[in-house]
């Protein structure tokens, strides 16, 4: 083929197996796993899935364990919160009590399930985000996900604006600080009000720029049909194999869990 495919950009995870996979396929798999997990309410099934998912992400991205652990923090925090709320507030057989606090068996089970679910989705999201280039994702969503060109390129233009925003924000903050009163230590004061003014200025400037960019996109003929596509994001056998593998493992775990009597669905909430 004479036209080179749109591969992942050179970078940290560029060479990894997961980075070479089709972004739309990865995103769809993330959705399917999340959807299946949404109706599972026992702790064992998501625990097994979490171990498998974490192993798969480490193997396919080659990520350092410390980095993976660090990226887990928000999910662990959220999971812990969900776990505690359920353990302490869900009615059922009391397992432990101290003063006004009581923890139920059902609470532990459902809370644990929800917390582990958070971690499964979390680790998969980490794998997806660290291995996927935003530009390639949009092109792939356009080519394989049937996303319209207007939406695709509007998002890509927004991405470009986002690249320039930190610099713009820095300049606005500087420009506002010139007239700000000084704190006792000599630095310009930075009040929440000043922050709001800066945000407003950034908004005005960005909206203007967005209008001009929209005109530029129109003047480039965005929205004409028919249109062609130059460099394709490849969709290969390896992508289908990955999809089949992930769905196969998911089905196997769910079925085995059911056979062993661990699996519980929505009814777990009603007991």
């Amino acid at each position: 083929m004479s036209i080179p495919a749109l591969g992942p950009p050179a970078g940290r995870a560029a060479g990894s197996v997961l980075a070479r996979r089709n972004p739309t396929v990865k995103l769809m798999l993330l959705f399917v796993v999340s959807a299946v997990l949404a109706v599972i309410f026992d702790p064992v099934t998501p625990a097994v899935l979490y171990v498998l998912a974490a192993a798969a992400v480490i193997a396919s991205t080659g990520m350092e364990l410390t980095r993976l652990a660090l990226l887990h923090l928000p999910f662990i925090g959220f999971g812990l919160g969900v776990f505690l709320v359920n353990a302490l507030s869900r009615p059922g057989d009391v397992w432990w009590t101290a003063g006004p606090l009581r923890i139920t068996v059902e609470g532990l089970s459902v809370g644990g399930s929800l917390a582990l679910r958070t971690l499964v989705i979390g680790v998969l999201a980490i794998g997806f985000i660290t291995s996927t280039d935003g530009v390639r994702l949009m092109h792939s969503l356009h080519q394989q996900g049937r996303l319209g060109p207007r939406v695709t390129y509007a998002v890509l233009a927004g991405y470009r604006m986002l690249q320039e925003m930190p610099r713009e924000w820095q300049t606005i903050r500087h420009a506002h600080a010139v007239r700000a009163p000084l704190r006792p230590d000599g630095a310009p004061s930075r009040s929440p009000l000043a922050f709001g003014r800066g945000a407003f200025a950034l908004l005005v400037i960005s909206v203007r720029k967005g209008e001009r960019m929209a005109l530029s996109l129109e003047s480039r003929g965005l929205g004409l049909s028919p249109r062609t596509t130059w460099r394709r994001v490849p969709l290969t056998g390896a992508d289908w194999a990955m999809a089949a593998g992930v769905l196969g493992v998911l089905a196997t775990v769910v079925v085995t869990s059911r056979m062993l009597g661990h699996l519980r669905g929505v009814e777990a909430l009603l007991s």
């Binding site: 004479s2 036209i3 530009v135 060109p149 390129y153 890509l156 233009a157 991405y159 470009r160 690249q163 320039e164 713009e168 300049t171 606005i172 500087h174 420009a175 506002h176 600080a177 010139v178 007239r179 700000a180 009163p181 000084l182 000599g186 310009p188 000043a194 003014r197 200025a201 005005v204 400037i205 720029k209 001009r212 960019m213 005109l215 530029s216 996109l217 129109e218 003047s219 480039r220 003929g221 965005l222 929205g223 004409l224 049909s225 028919p226 249109r227 062609t228 596509t229 130059w230 460099r231």
Partner: protein
């Protein structure tokens, strides 16, 4: 769509905006054949941009305005087809490279118009190469768009506008936001690309002095129209004829004009600097050469002392303590933009800060204003004020009045009104700062900063993007601010610098390479070479012709202030 259709035809076009009582364009009639080039002259606000919008179909499709008459592009009435549909025939290059480029990579940016026009995929790569080659930017193909300079960005945007071979190319102030090197590169790119593709061209540009370049009037499109203040076409014809006849009117309207036209407007003679009568006219406005050494002008005391200052952008990046401790040995040296910077600013003096793009002029000003931490050395003196390149970055309030009063704690009553009057903003007091024109925004940003009465005023490219009238007003404001202050401003416009500044501070090669009386600095070929500064022809001639700074400055200020003379049509024929 037959080949006999004109590329562009306007018939009796009027455009009126809903909330303005007067139409902005009136009865504009114009025909442009394929391959013909047209330049549109007119003062700020005369409807030049609206004319381009009416051609692209943005008026009336995107911007709500009443359009009467007909605009046809390649035989298609713009009212009958959408802006996107018209893009099959029209390429547009807008003024701001940061919003004229939409995608993160140069390659994708150029592929987009081809994909939209359904060019077969296997032809796209080659056409990208051809388009980039035609704007002399082949080496940019693999670059990310956020790393392009302004001039590079404009060339990529021009390639994208031309890549589908449009019948009509619209250039909307394509070089007004570029530094001199960028202007030259983009001008050459436009010339070669237009020669290669052969579209009809409509150019709107207010820095016509820079845009015309060394060729002068011959460097402009061959045909011209002049839009009057009321939106009528007041002249049309060959560019040199139009300029000869209307030089005075355009000059009086505050337009930037090619040098020979400006000289004709004020001396009454055509022919530019090569013409003896013009030279004589200029000479006659210089005072006699002073006998002997002139006594040094009295300047005030030092208000800002800069000693061995180092400037770094990276210094502000917050470094986590634990990270620094852990990797203390491998911590990279913070790269310094400037080192060993020492100079003094005195009350009553205007100093120009010169240097190539990226030399660190803005970072130096930010450091002096206390907004970037010093990476070494010291700055001693009271807190300076700073006016930013883009006035919008400074605006904090919702009305002009509040903007001027912002941060004033113990101002006497009436102070804000005085400032509004002084800076000709009183009639705009209740408007939103973001809705003002470019010149008004600049006046407001200066007034708001001057309200703080800081003994040092810093300004970053304060005349950038302004028309001639607003540029002169801004320079005059800097000059009068210096009566009770010290002023330091950065600029690329050496003529303005020579006319306004007392001293020049030149930075290049990571330090100060010259600091002295402005004309002495500008006479030093080594300094000019190292800082990448190129003297405009007028200044070059003046520096050769006159020895004393007073004489040079007298001629420049006479030129800036001179009323236009009535065209000497009789003398020409």
């Amino acid at each position: 769509m037959s080949s006999t259709e004109s590329a562009l035809r306007l018939d009796d076009v009027c455009v009126a905006f809903p909330r303005r009582p007067e139409p902005i364009l009136r009865n504009v009639t114009l025909v442009l054949e394929r391959g013909e080039q047209l330049v549109v002259f007119g003062a700020s606000g005369s409807g030049k941009s609206t004319l381009l919008q009416a051609i692209t179909g943005v008026v009336p499709h995107t911007v709500s305005a009443a359009l009467t008459g007909t605009v046809t592009v390649n035989g298609r009435a713009t009212t009958q087809c959408s802006v996107v549909e018209l893009s099959r025939h029209v390429g547009t290059l807008a003024q701001d490279p940061s919003s004229g480029i939409c995608l993160p990579d140069v390659e994708q940016e150029l592929a987009l118009p081809l994909e939209n026009h359904a060019v077969p995929a296997d032809e796209i790569s080659e056409r990208i190469d051809r388009a980039l080659a035609s704007v002399r930017a082949l080496t940019l193909r693999g670059r990310r768009t956020d790393q392009l300079s302004g001039g590079e960005g404009q060339r990529v945007a021009l390639a994208a506008a031309l890549i589908n071979g449009p019948d009509l190319l619209l250039l909307d102030e394509p070089t007004s936001m570029l530094d001199p090197a960028g202007v030259a590169a983009v001008r050459q790119a436009i010339n070669t690309a237009v020669a290669a593709h052969g579209p009809a061209v409509v150019l709107v540009e207010h820095r016509l002095d820079d845009y015309a370049g060394p060729d002068g009037v011959a460097g402009l499109p061959a045909r011209a129209i002049v839009l009057g203040e009321d939106g009528h076409v007041v002249a049309a014809g060959a560019t040199s004829d139009v300029l000869t006849e209307h030089a005075g009117r355009l000059h009086a309207a505050g337009c930037w004009l090619p040098l020979e036209t400006e000289l004709q407007a004020v001396t009454g003679f055509s022919g530019g600097l090569a013409e003896p009568a013009v030279r004589q006219g200029l000479r006659s406005h210089a005072p006699p050469a002073p006998a002997g050494d002139r006594a040094a002008e009295p300047v005030g005391p030092v208000v800002l002392a800069v000693d061995d200052l180092a400037v770094s952008r990276a210094a502000w990046v917050p470094r986590r303590r634990w990270a620094r401790r852990r990797r203390v040995r491998e911590a990279p040296e913070v790269p310094k933009l400037l080192e060993r910077v020492s100079f003094r600013l005195r009350t009553g003096e205007v100093t120009a800060l010169l240097g190539p793009n990226g030399a660190g002029k803005t970072s130096l000003l930010l450091t002096l204003a206390g907004l970037l931490p010093q990476a070494g050395g010291s700055v001693s003196g009271p807190r300076p004020g700073l006016v930013f390149q883009n006035p919008e970055h400074q605006f904090v309030a919702h009305t002009v009045r509040d903007e001027v009063g912002h941060g004033l704690t113990d101002a006497p009553p009436g102070r804000v009104d005085d400032l509004l009057d002084q800076h000709r903003l009183a009639h705009l007091a209740e408007q939103s700062p973001h809705r003002l024109s470019g010149g008004e925004k600049r006046r407001l940003s200066m007034a708001a900063m001057l309200a703080h009465e800081r003994p040092v005023l810093l300004a970053d490219e304060p005349t950038f993007g302004l028309d001639r009238r607003d540029t002169l007003a801004t320079l005059a404001a800097l000059r009068s601010a210096a009566v009770s202050r010290s002023v330091l401003f950065s600029s690329h416009d050496l003529r303005s610098v020579a006319a306004t500044a007392d001293r020049a501070l030149v930075i290049a090669d990571r330090s100060v390479i010259a600091d002295g009386p402005v004309l002495e600095v500008l006479r030093d070929p080594v300094v000019l070479e190292r800082a990448g500064l190129r003297l405009p022809p007028l200044l070059q001639w003046l520096l050769l012709e006159f020895d004393s700074a007073d004489q040079v400055r007298a001629v420049l200020s006479w030129l800036d202030a001179a009323p236009a003379v009535v065209p000497a049509t009789a003398a020409e024929t």
